[in-house]
Symmetry: C2
Subunit: 304 residues, 2 copies
């Protein structure tokens, strides 16, 4: 089986809601196509920054199918499919694999805290076995600041040993470079693909054997982030990296998801894009103005 | 509208799984009827100890309907209906209200951490408005050790002011009596019904204006806990309380949900009851033996 393995810059595509809080598939597909045309190699739809867990399983399935039937190749999709309920994870994963997605990005079940490595192993194991499809490429999603349930190195080791074909890599959103480095050192040489969870670590990740990044701000700054990926072996890589790190620093002064939606709403002249589902709250108009002004000062343009 | 308001001892009924991890409605209804016959005034089905978040929405709906059609009055049911996704919370809540359930116990959306009071207010507000049924009695579920998203006193105040009929009370599973006391002091006199989240605080809760407890260990020790509720004004209330506190202390030396299932499996001579869904792991047989032996020493009997 020949597989095109995901790498480069992937965006956890933000999910548009109408004013009545219903998901908007048209805007979603438009944004997806824009991202792919502007530097993203693929889309980790239904990530944390997609408000995935604020969507029902049916809403996620319908949105993913809409993408595939509206100009987005499944080879460019790595949807989030990890839920608290095993049955939901199995259903979403089987659906994504059935559509031919390049991979799935899988959160651990995140309601219970302090769960054992054995319990997490059983969770991923049950999903892999129940989906039972050789096409499955599973990327583990390590995001302890939000999920509060980490993916430890011994757990990765155990999963890789048992499912060397299905377990394809990891997104590290710990914000802790030492952790990313440890995962790279332990597994990168065996073909386990590590994505940095923020473009701040993109260059370091590439230099230590990683394959790219899956980052929130790729939703608004894909071209510049892609330039770092393309040029990571070049002499000006550090300068390019410093630029995207600076842009990220401006955005993350604000709550990330509302900030991304505010930038997109402003950049596309489409105010409804700013809508978020509770428990999130959109930026105030003052915050939006301030963020926009600061990005202008930085010479940042959404459509570039 | 005359309503029978829940009070007394409610069990977050544990959910039985078969060895293949599918939910078992027959065992579930049998356990529910046993609880109601042995001291429970009602069942907070689909609570934390029910592994509710390890079930899909469809599984929860099917199990709840099975209870109602198999001898459990909806007047004795307060199912958990709070999910990460607004649309799931609305669907489960509308379903429970439609069945005539006495109330619903609602977690805040628990994926995003550090969310604002405004965001949580909007979440509960949207659920109440979208369900749009005067029969809705919503109990807020405060369990910061697990959900990591608290229900603050200012949030309760704001919800009560806007929805005085729908917002009926709170279960406090903070494990912090000072918090329970603050909620009681602030709202109990206005008819806001506070349940302690553990029977350890049952007597204190009753003495300060609370209405009962919703506690994990009510799954295995309902009669003794009910005796405290019945006798809380009597001279021997403290002695009765000390007994149930001691039993609880034995059980909670072990991971709570696997321990409860182990006790039920042993007491009913039904080993399949010990099954849990990942990410939980059942007790080892050594742990099970030890727990059983220690409960025997305490003179504890499941069927009493």
């Amino acid at each position: 089986m020949t597989l095109h393995r995901p790498g480069g810059v992937w965006a956890p595509a933000i999910t548009p809601f109408r004013h009545d809080l219903s998901p908007d598939p048209e805007r979603f597909a438009r944004h997806a196509r824009w991202l792919l045309a502007n530097g993203c190699s693929g889309l980790a739809a239904f990530g944390t920054n997609s408000e995935a867990n604020s969507l029902s399983v049916e809403e996620r399935i319908a949105l993913l199918e809409f993408l595939v039937t509206h100009g987005v190749s499944p080879a460019c999709l790595m949807p989030g499919t990890g839920c608290c309920a095993l049955t939901d994870s199995v259903r979403l994963t089987a659906h994504a694999v059935g559509l031919g997605c390049a991979g799935v990005l899988m959160l651990p079940p995140f309601y219970y805290k302090g769960v054992s490595e054995e319990g997490l192993f059983r969770n991923f194991s049950e999903v892999i076995e129940r989906v039972g499809d050789a096409r499955l490429r599973l990327y583990l999603y390590h995001i302890p600041p939000v999920a509060q349930v980490p993916i430890s190195i011994p757990l990765i080791e155990r999963l890789l040993k048992r499912y060397p074909d299905a377990v394809a890599g990891l997104k590290d959103s710990s914000g802790d470079w030492n952790n990313t480095k440890s995962v790279l050192d332990a597994f990168a040489s065996t073909g386990f693909d590590v994505f940095a969870g923020s473009e701040v670590f993109l260059l370091s990740n590439m230099r230590h054997g990683g394959v790219g990044c899956i980052s929130a701000t790729a939703n608004v700054n894909p071209a510049a982030i892609h330039r770092v990926f393309e040029n990571w072996r070049e002499p000006d890589a550090d300068r390019l990296q410093a630029e995207i790190t600076a842009t990220r620093a401006v955005v993350q002064k604000y709550p990330m998801i509302p900030a991304l939606k505010s930038i997109v709403a402003r950049g596309f002249g489409d105010p409804e894009w700013a809508t978020v589902r509770p428990p999130l709250v959109e930026l105030t108009s003052d915050q939006s103005e301030l963020l926009g002004a600061e990005l202008d000062t930085h010479g940042f343009k959404l459509v570039g």
